[in-house]
Amino acid sequence: MQDVHLIKWTPQLSRVPYSVYADGDVHDKEEARIFQGETWNYLCLEAEIPDTGSYRTTFVGETPVVVVRDGDGEVYAFENRCAHRGALIALEKSGKADSFQCVYHAWSYNRQGDLTGVAFEQGVRGQGGMPPDFCKSEHGPRKLRVAVFSGLVFGSFGEDVPSIEEYLGDEICERIERVLHKQVKVIGRFTQALPNDWKLYAENVRDSYHASLLHLFFTTFELNRLSQKGGVIVDESGGNHVSFSMIDPAAKDESYKLQGIRADHDRYRLKDPSVLAGFDEWPDGITLQILSVFPGFVLQQIQNCLAVRQVLPKGKDRSELNWVYLGFEDDTPEQLRVRLKQSNLVGPAGFISMEDGAVGGFVQRGIAGARGLEAIVKMGGEVVESGEGRATETSVRGFWKAYRHHMGVQA
């Protein structure tokens, strides 16, 4: 095992030591410095905990967490770990609760995570019990700071984490609000077990360079992308990004004409192109927007197909990707149908997304003997900045800028 500080980091952000994806000690440090550090971690959607007592269990890194709405309407989050022996407090993925009780010795907690009851605290018939100086308020699971932004619930173990708005930056805030502009509705949840370190997926999401090279669905079926223009936004910290594209109205007619020229005997045409039939939903014409928030949150708009994704570490070279597919509360049945059809593009079997589930594993296996060697992420140079082209790894370097900052890496 190699300490993250013993890994040889070059001053340039364009080099990534392979050890950082594979060493167990790195994993433990990330838990402390990133997930339990000064970061905001996505917990759930506000829409998933609508009522007093609604709760969900999730994770911050590998730490189990309960997120719950209390009677005051506020959202609270605390570590899902009984203060007594450390057992899970809540076992279900979601539910409704007046309070929580650990099954092991029946210690109970209110919805803000305060220890409220200790079974047999006074003993039984004068025997046993807690000593008189035992004070329940001194014991309890760790509580998280909670911030709700545009219906997204974030939590932080950090003491000094900036406000969520400051953490995201103005441009990322705007781009989140652009998509989540009204009441959302969950239309499905899926989890993908990824055979790789969580950072390989975090990079993949920020990597606008691979899209047209790895994912051949659009090009194979000659679904026009040439007329699209777009760009990449990276925030000040480097950790948050947006990659977007839109149909260029000037090129649109010409490319449609070209598509019309393609004969019907063309070998690869969709027999049922309704999978991509959409409706105009955003006046800005942006048809694709992938947004990430450090460390593990993704918001996706691919045409009318909306989802949030949460990537979580599961051991040192495994991770889990939680997909929540979204529509809006006021969707018509036709609009919902469009979203359901387009969801064939994403998820574990997605025409676009399926490769992303495998490619991280290809890297993880490929680097098995490559301690001391480095990956190179130099497309677009060394800089971390917003720009128009997408043949760049600027937001991947941004991820490493934020990562090095939180891990305290001195190059």
Binding site: K93, V186, I187, G188, R189, F190, T191, Q192, A193, L194, P195, L214, L216, F217, T219, T220, F221, Y268, L270, K271, D272, S274, V275, E320, Y325, L336, R337, L340, K341, S343, N344, G347, P348, A349, F351, M354, E355, G357, A358, G361
Partner: protein, 154 residues
């Protein structure tokens, strides 16, 4: 009357088609306007309509096969379906509703085999020109987690 045996024979042919890599014939088991969806028990219990795969036409299934053959990148793999005895909920001359448990092992080109999915097919069959076809199939997986990716259909 559509009976148990004819449904079991249908399942056997369906599974063999996928497991022996004759994917191009897989859509032939469906009516032109068939619904096909892969989901899991939690979505089903909560009434959430999305699927890992979601199709409302046989053409969409053809397109999926074409994408798997020509566009999508995944490691070479195959499935081994084992189907249980169908539970017939209703059946008459021309239609039947059945639930059939399945187990699917995934065999990777590297040589390892793992239990990839278990669940139940919720099916509605119709008889068209004497032949059984699926009008609806929902593959409800028992696990909410899909390993790596799902390339081949269930």
């Amino acid at each position: 009357m559509i009976d148990l045996l004819s449904i079991m024979a249908f399942h056997a042919a369906y599974a063999d088609t996928i497991d022996s890599d004759r994917l191009e014939s897989w859509p032939d088991f469906f009516t032109p306007d068939a619904n096909y969806r892969i989901t899991h028990v939690e979505n089903e219990q909560e009434g959430l309509p999305a699927g890992i795969v979601w199709a409302d036409s046989r053409d969409m299934l053809d397109d999926r096969v074409a994408a798997l053959r020509e566009a999508n990148i995944y490691e070479r793999q195959r499935y081994r379906h084992l189907l249980g005895v169908p539970l017939l909920e209703s059946a008459d001359e021309n239609a039947a509703v059945a639930r059939t448990p399945f187990m699917v092992a995934r065999v990777m080109s590297r040589g390892d085999t793992q239990l990839f999915a278990t669940g139940v097919f919720k099916d509605r069959f119709v008889r068209v020109d004497g032949k059984l076809l699926l009008a609806d199939r929902v593959a409800v997986c028992d696990s909410t987690v899909t390993d790596t990716l799902m390339a081949l259909p269930l």
